[in-house]
């Protein structure tokens, strides 16, 4: 279980998150919705340790993550797919994928996870030995997500996975992630601007507005609240 309590993050005088709290249950998908600048990316970057908060706490199964460096947080089984530029363009597709699971000890399982990823994303298999530089935007996104899955994470932080992805590829990725949630108990925090599609896959959702949580609850319930949809979600 991921617990975020009273998280306040500021970039200099600009406060990006004002005491945000949320809980993500194990084996579920929680969507974080909101407009540009609502603080969604700041929230995931703080959870994965890239941003230091001014106050508050982030706990994974009771263990405090604040003040741990990003690499140690990753080694606890938290995989963060950053928005956009997440692939190492100078390295090959295969090298990128291998990097996902290098911190794990189980080498055999890693090999299997790699093969699984290629099965899931056939376009990547064909470009295995080319540099990621040669990939299209959608393929890079597949690579980013695939690399996170190779690590067999407990908690997956997805920052705008729909960016640059064709509708079909997105549906495929989300289908795979949903399967991992039910089969392996994967926990997902999904950042999305496209509220409609996020609410359709998520179990729970929170809505951020200018660094504050303005709504939270089961995804279906939020999707049904017309006022909320008009005010913050844009559909």
């Amino acid at each position: 279980m991921l617990e975020v309590v009273d998280l306040t993050v500021a970039y200099g005088p600009v406060v990006a998150l004002h005491g945000v709290s949320l809980t993500v249950q194990d084996a579920s998908i929680t969507a974080v919705l909101g407009a540009n600048g609502a603080g969604k990316t700041t929230l995931v970057r703080t959870i994965s340790g890239l941003v230091r908060p001014r106050a508050g706490s982030v706990r994974l199964d009771g263990r405090e993550l604040i003040r741990l460096p990003p690499e140690e947080i990753a080694r606890l089984g938290i995989a963060h797919v950053p928005q956009g530029q997440g692939v190492l363009a100078e390295l090959t597709v295969d090298e990128n994928l291998r990097l996902g699971g290098l911190w794990r000890r189980d080498r055999k399982a890693q090999r299997g996870a790699l093969d699984e990823t290629y099965e899931l994303f056939p376009p990547l298999a064909g470009r295995r030995h080319l540099t990621a530089f040669s990939l299209s935007g959608g393929e890079r996104q597949m690579l980013s997500v695939g690399r996170a899955l190779v690590a067999r994470p407990r908690l997956l932080l997805l920052d705008e996975p729909s960016l640059g992805l064709a509708r079909r590829a997105l549906v495929q990725i989300m289908g795979r992630i949903k399967a991992l949630v039910t089969e392996r108990g994967l926990t997902v925090l999904l950042i999305e601007q496209n509220a409609k599609s996020a609410l359709s896959v998520a179990d729970d959702a929170i809505v951020l507005h200018l660094g504050n949580v303005v709504a939270h609850g089961p995804a279906q319930k939020l999707a049904d609240e017309e006022g909320l949809r008009h005010a913050y979600l844009g559909f």
């Binding site: 994965s48 340790g49 890239l50 460096p69 990003p70 690499e71 990753a74 080694r75 995989a79 963060h80 950053p82 530029q85 997440g86 692939v87 190492l88 363009a89 100078e90 390295l91 090298e95 291998r98 990097l99 996902g100 290098l102 911190w103 530089f133 690399r147 690590a151």
Partner: protein
């Protein structure tokens, strides 16, 4: 013709050493985007340590290992103590610190080891080999120089391209933030990068000391030529560094042989300017690619 042949052989051996120096600079540049101006002074220091060991009755090969291992350690210390604290400061800070380290080491060496010019023993004979009844200007020690530089380069290539550790090191150099998210301990990788680079520099030091003689500033010109080679090669390309270093070796040997040895340094400068006018990014840079 025979003069050209002699100069070419000489250029190849010298070039191997400049290539090692260039490679050391490029490894650090790629890992931390720093030109380590103290690279030569660090190699000077480790060569002195080897000579110190030899003076105290340590056999040559053990002293050789002393130079290489002290190179490894010195590189790690420099990264941890000098470079790490200014990691997020403007790049000029660390450049000034490496210049400071250069001055510090060149002042410290004469205090510890004496300032007089010392000779440094070669691993093998420096007398030219005999083929039939003619002698060529290529000694067993030259062969050792070429062979050991080549061996180190092959080992580094295997390390970087074929091992998980090398993959981690490359990732950490290309994109530290993303690497951290993948659980790579970037700090350790950078320390290791400095260590390995400094080891390559230390090797260059022990290899060139027999012909240059050992004194506190003896590596300065090697650094300049190695740096020129690295820039020729494009600064972010390991292959480019090796080719650039070798080119410098040949070019300086021809300039020295045909035009006079006092023109060597000017020759280096002329080559650098000429190449950079034609290819401002150097011969092998993938900079354009990396900007995208």
């Amino acid at each position: 013709m025979s003069r050209f042949f002699v100069l070419s052989l000489n250029g190849l051996t010298q070039g191997a050493i400049y290539a090692a120096m260039a490679l050391a600079l490029v490894m650090i540049w790629r890992a931390t985007q720093v030109i380590n101006f103290a690279q030569g002074a660090m190699a000077m220091f480790t060569t002195y340590l080897a000579l110190f060991a030899i003076d105290h009755g340590v056999p040559y090969w053990l002293a050789f290992l002393v130079a290489l291992s002290s190179g490894l350690i010195l590189g790690a210390i420099v990264e941890r103590v000098i470079v790490r604290p200014v990691e997020s400061a403007p790049p000029l800070n660390v450049v000034i610190l490496t210049l400071g380290l250069l001055l510090f080491l060149e002042a410290l060496a004469p205090m510890l080891f004496g300032g007089q010019i010392r000779s440094f023993p070669p691993a093998f004979s420096i007398v030219g080999l005999h083929f039939g009844n003619s002698q060529v200007a290529f000694s067993p020690f030259d062969a050792f120089t070429l062979g050991s530089v080549l061996a180190v380069m092959v080992l580094l290539l295997v390390l970087f391209q074929k091992t998980d550790l090398g993959l981690r090191m490359r990732a950490a150099a290309f994109n530290p933030d993303v690497s951290r998210l993948l659980g790579i301990r970037v700090g350790r990788m950078l320390t290791l990068g400095w260590s390995l680079a400094s080891l390559v520099g230390a090797l260059a030091g022990v290899l060139i000391a027999p012909s240059l003689l050992l004194y506190p500033t003896f590596m300065d010109q090697v650094l300049v030529f190695g740096f020129t080679g690295a820039v020729l090669g494009g600064l972010d390309s390991a292959v480019g560094a090796v080719v650039g270093g070798l080119l410098m070796g040949f070019a300086l040997s021809y300039v020295g042989g045909y035009l006079g040895s006092d023109l060597e340094t000017v020759g280096a400068l002329v080559i650098l300017i000429a190449v950079l006018m034609v290819r401002p990014r150097g011969l092998f840079s993938r900079h354009r690619l990396r900007q995208a």
